[in-house]
């Protein structure tokens, strides 16, 4: 699915673009008679310092001007921009700034939903989509840290071996099903996306701030069997005198 298709599927006529570049966009949309802020990446965007800053600015604007307005992130990214200039500027700081903006929005009562509709890779996903209250992906989308051939080269573990092991464990290989099983995704979407988005926003808005503040992904990972060891650590550390 490309940007225009996902915008249409989610919002139909209710989408009002404010800024549309090839690799990133933002605007407003209507969901169940309320306005939401929409921020997104497209065409397998490379997320660099400028883009991270732009997205942070939109989040800050929503915090300042639109109390309580939900924020929806739509992601299609190949990861962080791999240029010396962006590293010189301190790309990790720009990304952290964006993540902090999202966290502040959450603390100020904005519910935040993210949907991966294309690809979501590492640094391109972490400061936006992964900071949401509820994270979703379309069934035919992709989430990964790195593709298997590159992982094989760097870890020096033969590719065939990684491919075999990937069948037994969700812990390292690409795939939205893995991110579901590990507890990160709330759900994988098929069918009527706009209804599911509306339901997600309603559900989040019905929660108290205290409930929203709790990051329940480890608990979910334990429940779904993808991250048992993390659950053990949490229990052992917090049960500790």
């Amino acid at each position: 699915m490309n940007r225009d298709q996902v915008l249409n599927a989610l919002f139909g006529e209710g989408w009002k673009a404010e800024h549309l570049e090839a690799d990133h966009f933002y605007g407003r949309a209507s969901v169940l008679n309320q306005e939401v802020t929409v921020i997104g990446t497209s065409e397998k965007a490379e997320v660099g310092a400028d883009m991270a800053l732009t997205m942070a600015r939109v989040v800050i604007q929503t915090i300042k001007e639109r109390a309580g307005e939900p924020i929806v992130f739509l992601l299609d990214t190949q990861g962080q921009r791999l240029r010396r200039r962006d590293e010189l500027m301190g790309l990790n700081g720009y990304m952290a700034h964006l993540a902090k903006a999202v966290e502040l929005a959450r603390q100020r009562g904005h519910v935040i939903v993210s949907v991966v509709y294309g690809e979501a890779v590492s640094g391109g996903y972490i400061s936006t989509g992964m900071m949401a209250d509820a994270c979703y992906a379309l069934a035919d989308a992709e989430i990964k840290v790195m593709n298997l051939p590159a992982m094989a080269r760097i870890t020096k573990i033969p590719l065939e071996h990684l491919q075999e092991l990937a069948k037994q464990s969700p812990v390292f290989s690409p795939g939205v099903e893995n991110y579901l099983r590990m507890g990160h995704l709330d759900a994988v979407w098929e069918g009527d996306y706009s209804t599911q988005l509306a339901a997600s926003i309603s559900e989040l808005q019905a929660k108290s701030r205290a409930e929203i503040a709790v990051d329940s992904r480890i608990a979910r990972g334990v429940e779904r069997g993808g991250r048992k060891a993390a659950g053990v650590v949490i229990e052992r550390v917090l049960g500790h005198a």
Partner: protein, 299 residues
């Protein structure tokens, strides 16, 4: 006990920075809470999965501490490693220590546990921000050989304050990755001076991403951490976020066309890169004081 922060292992750093004898480890190595995933990949494990967590005092004040072991898989974050940090931060919200010390040394997400690592990084980022909003101060320390890269670099820039040595590096992607994708003209990863001018402590300090530059001495990190207890807290609020936004915006405006800290330092009217490279930390700090204010956009 080694004096150099760079050469010290994670536990030595903790013992050297915190008050003598005050450190109590949580989840000791003998508890054997290590990675359940490495056996499948026929990889060796560490008893503590490469991260030390616990309680201590700093100048008498209660603190919680995290220290990553850079020699174990480059300090990279896997499921257990990440959960230890997340759990420690949850403990900080409960106990409200004076500060949490995060001694970073990590290449980012551990590829062998890539998905667990990536999710853990975002959980830690959320936890740091949430704890900060509840008044907990986070002091990050960077100065190890493996640097502070990838997801760990993101966590570092969520802290209230960063203390870094010249030897430390803080960035997103490593130079080798950039060179592999775009070639040696884009980034010659073997040009060590260039690597440090792009990601090293002195450059990050002048840019304002790092608040304190120290010598490569465990004692110097200790002093700086104690000072930060009093002066380093930054409120997690709209005002601070907007101030940072302004700094980051004008940085791109002032220096966005630069490709090397040399160019930035020249524009700021600083001595040559060669001279700056030779300066010890305290001399560098005093030499760059007013240029640093200009770089940060302070009026």
């Amino acid at each position: 006990m080694v004096n150099s922060f760079l050469e010290a292992g994670a536990r030595d750093r903790v013992h050297g920075i915190c008050d003598a004898g005050s450190f109590q480890e949580i989840l000791k190595p003998s508890d054997r809470i290590s990675s359940p995933h490495m056996a499948l990949l026929e990889q060796p494990v560490a008893f503590d999965d490469g991260v030390v967590i616990g309680r201590a005092t700093l100048g008498g004040a209660p603190v919680l501490v995290v220290a990553q072991e850079g020699e174990f898989l480059g300090g990279a974050i896997g499921e257990v490693h990440g959960a230890k940090i997340t759990a420690l931060i949850a403990k900080a919200i409960e106990e409200k220590p004076r500060a949490v010390l995060l001694i970073f040394e990590s290449g980012g997400v551990r590829l062998h546990e890539a998905n667990a690592g990536l999710i853990a990084v975002s959980e830690i980022m959320r936890a740091v921000c949430s704890a900060r909003a509840q008044g907990v101060q986070f002091i990050g320390l960077i100065g190890g050989a493996a640097g502070c890269f990838g997801g760990t670099g993101l966590i570092a820039r969520c802290c209230d304050v960063l203390i870094m040595s010249e030897e430390g590096r803080l960035a997103m992607s490593g130079p080798e990755v950039i060179e592999t994708v775009y070639g040696v003209e884009e980034f010659d990863s073997r040009d060590r001076a260039l690597v440090w001018r792009v990601s090293g402590g002195k450059h990050r300090y002048v840019m304002g991403d790092v608040q304190t530059l120290v010598a490569d001495e465990v004692e110097a990190f200790r002093s700086a951490a104690m000072d930060a207890l009093d002066t380093g807290k930054v409120n997690f609020d709209l005002q601070s976020l907007e101030a940072e936004h302004a700094m980051l915006t004008q940085r791109l405006a002032q220096f966005g066309d630069c490709r090397d800290a040399k160019e930035i330092w020249q524009r700021l009217g600083l001595p040559s890169a060669e001279e700056l490279a030779l300066m010890p930390a305290d001399e560098f700090v005093s030499t760059t004081a007013s240029a640093r204010n200009v770089a940060k956009g302070a009026r």
